[in-house]
Subunit: 268 residues, 2 copies
């Protein structure tokens, strides 16, 4: 499982406050905590006004790189911001994200084509977020045609099927699970990712719902996730699932992660 640590994001109020105050130690600590939890990428999203987004991204990326060796996921709704932010990174990371909306995919794929960067691609288009599995898979087909045109191997892509909240859309879960299965059936080497915690929006005991959905999605083929790696319950369930799926012989990694304190806090 590829873990993309979500905590350095200006959409999170406490992180926004640290960004506004230019609190270096706070950001550094988020980078270190997530690295200690074993993340593969540290997502960096400024979530500020356009005119200060790039300088904020640079400030954040510089802090993360001073604190850890973990590759960075440059995260912005503006594909040009992602491209500029790539230049601040001292090693290849994750481009987060492109989609079939407007020029995003051409601009983004052109920027990463001849690099070692990986890329998140969302299954939406100029028509918005498709309602049905078929329509999302049509967007996926368009994305893969672009990937082929730009010479980007499926193994460099993290497809995000767009997880929506459970409380208003029970059918949406079955649909997303179907989309994940079909994507992995078509391209076994591709990664499927998602913002896990979206599923539990507006519900009590959100972490319970997040855990259930993570297991469902991993069974369907999800092998990457944008999540809080300091959530020890969720991390425990992820390590447990890898073992339950037969990919961790004698539970060696599960036990190692427990000993390292990455999971194990589930209490009555």
């Amino acid at each position: 499982m590829i873990i993309i640590g979500e905590k350095i994001n200006g959409a999170i109020p406490s992180t926004a406050k640290a960004i506004a105050k230019r609190d270096v130690e706070y950001i550094k600590n988020l980078a270190r905590m997530q690295t200690a939890a074993g993340v593969d990428y540290i997502d960096v999203c400024a979530s500020v006004e356009n005119d200060v987004e790039l300088e904020t991204m640079k400030w954040l990326i510089d802090i993360v790189q001073a604190a850890t060796e973990t590759p960075i996921a440059v995260d912005s709704p503006n594909v040009h911001t992602c491209i500029e932010a790539m230049k601040y990174c001292n090693k290849p990371g994750l481009f987060n994200s492109v989609s079939m909306e407007g020029e995003k995919i051409d601009v983004g794929f052109a920027a990463i084509a001849d690099t070692d960067w990986e890329c998140v691609a969302l299954l939406n288009s100029d028509k918005g977020i498709p309602k049905t599995a078929k329509d999302r898979l049509d967007v996926f087909t368009d994305i893969m045609a672009k990937a082929k045109a730009y010479g980007i191997a499926p193994s460099r892509l993290h497809i995000d099927p767009l997880v929506e909240m459970l409380c208003t859309s029970e059918d949406g879960v079955a649909m997303v699970i179907e989309v994940i299965r079909e994507i992995k059936a078509q391209y076994p080497a591709i990664h499927v990712t998602g913002a896990i915690s979206n599923i539990s929006f507006n519900l009590p005991a959100r972490k319970t719902v997040n855990m259930g959905f993570t297991v469902m999605a991993m069974m369907a083929g999800l092998d990457s996730g944008i999540l809080d790696p300091t959530d020890r319950d969720l991390m425990g369930v992820i390590y447990a699932m890898v073992a339950l799926m037969g990919e961790d012989e004698y539970c060696v990694e599960y036990i190692r992660a427990y000993r390292q304190g990455i999971h194990g806090a589930v209490k009555k």
Copy 2:
């Protein structure tokens, strides 16, 4: 999901101690706690020497029936004990269990045939616990032939595919999941049950593994479980899964159970 509360079992050291001391209040409390957690059956298993098993079962059943209205699962490896214990029950419950070992299935099915009792049937035989999915499904076929002969509808059966520990048998999980799927495909009205916590034997942070396995098994068709209903994390994941599978519109039951305090204790 049909919940069979596992706590009144002499194989649990604290319960064994209460049985040895004939501690009525302790047993009564276990019955009440499990009823408050919304269980469908309270399992009663003495786990004592043969010569005192039946009197111990009667003592336990009398206490449970004085404390709650919840139906009882009469639980013994000795099918004759189960038959005698049925007589102490003031309403139909769950016969736990029969298997294709020896005369168990004929004796057990004959006893419940003309009653409203339901029955747990384990997928083992005189040859022991089969290693492969095919062999377990062969035992299942034999059980269903017997059920037909005794006129017991599939909806009265809880098939236990026999969950084994993950730490020594990663392949066993995929095998059990396959068995669950195939049983439900053959008989959609049948119940599939299991002793969930067996999966995590010998592992740290067992509850995490139990949660992951429960979700996997529910996705495959598990709709009954012998488990600790006072484990609020596990109960939360079960309620979450019912919603995630589209069987709890607007998460009404999930939210109700949260408000009743049945789940919601998952903490960082």
